[in-house]
């Protein structure tokens, strides 16, 4: 949906640029300390945070949103100078580093990051950013099953329930290659980064077998459809669990026993950023504990900012196993970049699933 909307908005934007070319070209309203182009996930920040950043720093923020890592990559690979600071996920950060599209960070300008971000998250980040040179964690979480207690009678503790024909038409799957395959691969006990043909073949057959049971493949809509009772089970990011439960108390989030994906979304600065200093200020600002807390209250995605974690006032949330699971008690695996051949292979298999009856 957002993808379509953004196409529409881009068209409008192009028209506006052409039209503004006829009028005065000096009209772009820069802040007194310049501009900053931010590219982040949709609904992934408290809008007040942007305003307060602008007020405190005098930097004008131009804020754009993307719906998937792949869409973001397509845009950055075209022209990375279009944005200064972006917030991709782990495997995509690895891909950006390997493609030389991001630059090393000057940590002397990021005191809040070094002070407030927990050690565990820096360690986890090493998997895609060895030496923590390029990225600063912003949010993290797991992928799990959100289910409606009034509609599901069986215990939900395994990915297998998504293959239970009792819930035909009541299941929502993620419309993204990596997440869909992660579910099938983990169910069979494989790594979610496998490039083994036999394992992927099996996962593909599983996903095709599952397709008649699936109501729809969606991304952001899982949240609203689950709240509205449109479906009984949905694959969703842990960050949505607190929000959806708040809206519909019948919903429960579970991390399946076979293990799941753990993801970290981190800030990176593009290689050809035109506003590097402002980008560093932005990252540092996002790591301030009061800002991270304000953001967490709004978007409910787990923050790696341990100082902010300690300041959460609601005991239930501060001690929540959903928001802050004990990483030693669950099996988790982060995505890594599959390379071009790997991506092509996953995509071809995914097309088979999508075109199956």
């Amino acid at each position: 949906m957002k993808r379509l909307l953004s196409v529409f908005l881009i068209t409008l934007g192009c028209t506006a640029i052409i039209l503004s070319g006829c009028g005065s070209s000096s009209g772009s309203a820069a802040g007194k300390n310049g501009k900053l182009y931010v590219y982040n996930w949709g609904e992934y920040i408290d809008p007040d945070v942007i305003t307060s950043f602008e007020k405190e720093t005098g930097i004008k923020v131009i804020y754009d949103m993307f719906e998937s890592n792949e869409i973001m990559y397509a845009k950055i690979a075209q022209d990375d100078s279009a944005y200064d600071v972006i917030c991709p996920s782990d495997y995509m950060i690895q891909k950006l580093i390997e493609s030389g599209l991001v630059q090393k960070l000057d940590y002397s300008k990021l005191p809040n990051a070094t002070a407030n971000i927990g050690k565990d998250y820096w360690t986890k980040s090493q998997q895609f950013d060895a030496g923590n040179l390029y990225s600063v964690p912003y949010c993290w979480g797991t992928v799990g099953i959100l289910y409606n207690k009034t509609m599901v009678s069986d215990p939900v503790d395994s990915w297998n329930i998504l293959w239970n024909s009792k819930y035909k038409g009541e299941i929502l799957m993620q419309d993204s290659v990596r997440d869909a395959y992660m579910v099938a691969l983990k169910k069979d006990g494989y790594s979610c980064n496998t490039t083994d043909k036999a394992q992927l073949e099996q996962a593909t057959q599983d996903l095709i077998a599952q397709k008649p049971l699936v109501q729809a493949y969606v991304i952001d809509q899982v949240r609203d459809k689950m709240i509205g009772g449109e479906a009984a089970l949905g694959v969703i990011y842990s960050g949505e669990a607190i929000y959806t439960k708040r809206e519909n108390p019948d919903l429960e989030y579970v991390i399946p026993k076979e293990g799941t994906n753990i993801w970290i979304d981190s800030w990176v600065i593009t290689k050809d950023s035109k506003n590097k200093e402002n980008a560093l200020k932005w990252i540092n600002y996002m790591c301030r504990d009061d800002i991270a807390l304000k953001n967490f209250d709004y978007i409910t995605y787990s923050t790696p900012n341990v100082k902010a974690q300690a300041e959460i006032t609601d005991d239930d949330i501060r001690n929540s196993k959903v928001a802050f699971p004990d990483l030693n008690s669950i099996k988790t695996e982060a995505y890594s970049n599959l390379g071009e051949a790997g991506d092509r292979m996953y995509n071809d298999y995914w097309m088979q699933v999508k075109s199956a009856d």
Partner: protein, 272 residues
């Protein structure tokens, strides 16, 4: 004379520039990307990819749904066109406006509304529930996509058909009657042939957007039904494979070209 030619060329220049920047350049880029690989070497691999079952199936399905939608649009639009053409001035304009009115709203918004109507717990099933009828599950099936396409593209069929029907001189019909043709014969041998240009342009205007759509199928098909338009969109956005996406686009363009050739040939026949 020379001066006026110069002025007209000058006046035409914005349109030429427009056509160059927004039609020729993108077309050239699609051809370039579609016929090269990552290294920039010539290849037909992006085109032959269509032979893969998953890709070929999406093309066939897009053609099938496109044809079904076009036929339904035609069956709905022709009688309406005839009714409108037979109406007194003023009234038919009102009804025509009613059909065009929804087009003033954003197309995505209208398609989104169909989602709410057809959903499992949507408006349609609410109404059926009130009448104690069993619910129907149309959303996320090819049928939902056809409904969406017919709804969105119907005006493009009605307008040209109505236009060509209203241009038919009453005297031609009267002459046919005078010469002893019954209503059915008059329709089959006079009205229908004279409205062919409208039918052809209606078919083109419905079939091409129906064949290439990816928005309607993504929204009403729940991403479960993969059309060739969705494949192209995925290649460009998700897979970031511009070569393959362009290759698929070239295939789709071939079908559009065939459609255009057929319509222009039959147009010329009409003129001759």
């Amino acid at each position: 004379m020379l001066k006026s030619a110069k002025t007209s060329r000058l006046l035409a220049s914005p349109y030429l520039a427009w056509a160059f920047i927004f039609i020729l350049v993108p077309l050239g880029m699609i051809l370039y990307y579609g016929l090269t690989d990552d290294a920039g070497a010539f290849t037909l691999q992006n085109i032959t990819y269509i032979a893969k079952p998953a890709y070929f199936k999406s093309l066939l399905l897009a053609l099938e749904l496109g044809v079904i939608s076009t036929v339904i649009c035609f069956l709905l639009a022709y009688p309406l066109g005839m009714i409108l053409a037979g109406m007194k001035l003023g009234r038919h304009e009102f009804i025509l406006t009613l059909f065009i009115l929804p087009m003033w709203m954003n197309f995505l918004l209208r398609t989104l509304t169909w989602m709410t109507l057809l959903e499992r717990k949507g408006v349609l099933n609410d109404i059926l529930g009130l009448l104690h009828l069993p619910p129907v599950y149309i959303i996320n099936t090819p049928a939902a996509i056809v409904i969406g396409m017919v709804y969105n593209f119907l005006p493009f069929m009605i307008l040209p058909i109505y236009n060509s029907l209203s241009k038919i001189d009453d005297n031609v019909i009267n002459a046919a009657r005078d010469l002893g043709a019954d209503p059915l014969q008059t329709f089959l041998r006079v009205t229908l042939p004279l409205s062919v240009p409208g039918i052809i342009s209606g078919i083109t205007m419905v079939f091409i957007p129906a064949l290439t759509t990816f928005a309607i199928s993504a929204m009403l098909g729940g991403s479960k039904v993969l059309l060739i338009g969705n494949v192209i969109e995925q290649e460009f956005t998700v897979a970031y494979d511009w070569h393959l996406g362009s290759g698929m686009s070239i295939i789709l363009m071939l079908f559009i070209l065939i459609n255009m050739v057929i319509s222009s040939v039959s147009d010329r026949k009409e003129a001759g």
